[in-house]
């Protein structure tokens, strides 16, 4: 009833292939956007901004980058965090060398560096496949983190070896650094994430996206029908690393405020991989659902016993937390290996024919 599609006729191919062939989808997205742009900022507390809203957006973006590579182009990568690190360090170097630079421009440009590094580490994918490639991306992971540690130029030779985000202004308002207001940071993140999401949706729907999908489904077959595998794989690495790099810059500049090299170590990569897989490989929306689950759940679980008044030590909560996350991953994989996005798709199909199934 709510989702009835009757009466929505398509008279041209363009209309049929539009972003929202069903009107209700557009309404739903509109509602979500109103929530994201208006309702949340008005109601959220500092704690919510810092532990839920901002991280969920940034993690979604990082997962989206990975999803382009793994979900659309079929190249499994375990080195996401290192590429985030490249973005973050590039951004740090840019704003310290050129303090006059607009921080948003710096963040968007930092993705270019990670894209370059991504392509370099993507070259082996032309020969190596499957798990071998996954382990090969670990070479990028470990090598880059080691480099962040050893290359003192990257952190301006400071004694601690960690980078600190300076206070950065845009149009007279602080948008990064300790002086920045959470709500402003949230809007900056939301703006960039919205922009890149739009870009990714359109890329994956277009010619390039179809090339990637063909490569994912079977690369030899794709090659036989005339797809340039090198171009397809390397563009996937490039776009993916760009998005991941921007996510990394946002991660440090808009959220964490400081970073040490081992922040970009393998647990972060796995976390993003969880988000992409639990959300659904080959889906843009899935990244958001996955991020809400993986980022939001521990926060909720942490505050739950206290709210309900259960006396339990915080160490115990943390242990239980890890166990619950582990089991949930297995649980979701068992009930829907294609992720939350697929779950939503099923619900939507049900809604369309509800209440009168055929």
């Amino acid at each position: 009833m709510l989702y009835r599609t009757a009466g929505q006729f398509k008279t041209s191919y363009t209309a049929d292939q539009a972003l929202f062939p069903i009107r209700q989808d557009a309404y739903l997205l509109g509602i979500i956007l109103i929530f994201a742009w208006v309702v949340f900022p008005l109601t959220a507390s500092e704690f919510t901004f810092q532990t839920l809203l901002i991280p969920i957006l940034i993690y979604s973006l990082a997962a989206m980058g990975l999803n382009i590579l793994t979900g659309y182009a079929g190249q499994l990568s375990l080195g996401t965090a290192a590429f985030m690190g490249v973005g973050a360090y590039a951004c740090y170097k840019m704003v310290t060398i050129m303090p006059w630079m607009n921080p948003v421009v710096a963040i968007l440009l930092s993705g270019v560096f990670s894209a370059g590094v991504g392509v370099a580490f993507g070259i082996p994918s032309l020969r190596i496949k499957g798990f071998y490639l996954a382990i090969a991306t670990l070479a990028a992971q470990f090598f880059l983190v080691w480099l962040f540690e050893k290359w003192a130029w990257l952190y301006n030779y400071n004694a601690s070896g960690a980078i600190q985000v300076p206070n950065l202004k845009m149009f007279g308002v602080y948008i990064a650094g300790p002086q920045a207001d959470s709500m402003i940071q949230y809007f900056v993140v939301l703006g960039i994430v919205t922009l890149l999401t739009l870009l990714c949706i359109n890329l994956t729907r277009g010619n390039l996206g179809r090339t990637w999908k063909a490569t994912r489904d079977m690369d030899i077959a794709a090659e036989l029908i005339g797809i340039n595998l090198m171009k397809s794989k390397l563009t996937a690495f490039m776009v993916s690393s760009y998005v991941v790099g921007v996510a990394g810059a946002l991660f440090v500049f808009m959220w964490r405020g400081a970073a040490e090299p081992n922040l970009f170590d393998i647990p972060l990569s796995f976390r993003i991989l969880f988000i992409a897989i639990i959300g659904g490989l080959g889906s843009i929306m899935g990244n958001y659902l996955g991020a809400i689950l993986i980022v939001g759940l521990p926060v909720v679980l942490n505050t739950l016993p206290q709210t309900l008044g259960i006396p339990i030590s915080s160490a115990m909560v943390e242990h239980l937390n890890i166990m619950i996350i582990g089991s949930l991953i297995i649980f979701f994989l068992i009930i829907e290996p294609h992720g939350l996005a697929r779950l939503w798709a099923l619900i939507r199909e049900k809604l369309i024919i509800w209440p009168f199934p055929y």
Binding site: P124, Y132, L138, F143, W146, H319, I325, I330
Partner: protein, 317 residues
């Protein structure tokens, strides 16, 4: 610069051959331990195409159980048996709860599931055993401590007795495993399953039994690894990271090959040590062991995409 890269390290090696031998010995010992972890991976991968990331935490879990049981006053040898029992129960549970519902899913899904298992076991282990660093019950298990001092070329070579024990035990384990896989019914069934699921099922091999068996063997290997590694630096959750060291071994040796795991492990153990000592520390600021193995494996893969001993990848359209 060129001199530092191509000449000086070799001059160093010949100037102090006893030191070179020490480096190679240390590399050999770590290599054996990498190879053991890699073996656990290979066994499971061969029989079920599952890339079992949980092997690292199984090492920790087995070692913790052993030490934990001993702390409760159980004699050492009974602890070993009980730990094996725990690993068996773990294998059964994993097969029942995780693997069976996921049969036939894409590789990556199964891989993620094993990471789920890893997280679960970390949480469970910390609740049961606590996060403190524990001392491996080396003496109680009859592993000799102390060291053998040799003086080759008038220098000094220190061989730890527990390292020697680890090398011997690992060698025995590998030989036993090879005999098991090649000479017994069960072993052949494991290999058959690895070659072709459908065909193996159709001749009456039970998938469930074999999976439990394979996970159990991986558990035994984990226990041996845990004892050997724990004897070096204590048992704590930080041990889990050694799982990462097994990954380049797999890449280099090939995911399906037992020989590959052993040769790859030894190669990586020794080469990374040599590189770190003679090139990494003087030229690159040290700590190259974190990535050297991966980069080495990556380079080898560029020439042999299935690793040195892996099955040739044949693709049909």
């Amino acid at each position: 610069m060129l001199n530092d890269i191509f000449v000086a390290p070799f001059v160093d090696m010949f100037a102090a051959p006893d030191f070179l031998m020490q480096v190679l010995w240390e590399g050999l010992v770590s290599g054996i331990l990498y190879a053991l972890i890699a073996l656990g991976f290979v066994l499971i991968y061969r029989s079920s195409r599952i890339f079992n990331f949980a092997q690292g935490i199984m090492v920790v879990f087995a070692a913790l159980t052993l030490v934990g049981l001993h702390a409760m006053g159980v004699p050492a040898w009974i602890c070993i048996l009980l730990t094996l029992g725990v690993m068996f129960v773990l294998a059964v549970v994993v097969e029942r709860v995780v693997l069976r519902p996921l049969v036939g899913q894409p590789d990556i899904i199964l891989f993620m599931a094993t990471i789920g298992i890893t997280l679960f076991l970390i949480g469970l282990g910390e609740i049961i055993f606590g996060g403190e660093n524990k001392v491996m019950i080396t003496a109680e298990l009859g592993i000799p401590t102390g060291s053998v001092l040799l003086e080759p070329f008038g220098g000094l070579l220190i061989l730890e007795q527990k390292d020697i024990t680890a090398v011997i035990v690992a060698a025995l384990l590998v030989v036993g495993l090879l005999i098991f896989l090649n000479k017994t019914r069960m072993g052949r069934a494991i290999r058959a399953l690895g070659d072709d699921h459908q065909a193996a099922l159709s001749v009456g091999i039970s998938l469930q039994t074999i999976w439990v068996l394979v996970w159990f063997i991986a558990g035994i290997i984990a226990l041996v690894t845990g004892i050997a590694w724990g004897a070096r630096a204590g048992v704590s959750f930080a041990l889990e990271v050694i799982a990462y060291k097994a990954l380049p071994v797999l890449m280099l040796g090939g995911l399906e090959s037992i020989t590959g795991a052993i040769v790859g492990g030894l190669m990586i153990g020794m080469l990374e040590k040599l590189f770190e000592i003679y090139w990494g520390q003087p030229l690159l600021g040290g700590n190259t062991e974190t990535w050297f193995a991966f980069v080495l494996a990556l380079i080898v893969l560029l020439f042999r995409p299935q690793g040195l001993f892996g099955e040739r990848i044949i693709e049909r359209v």
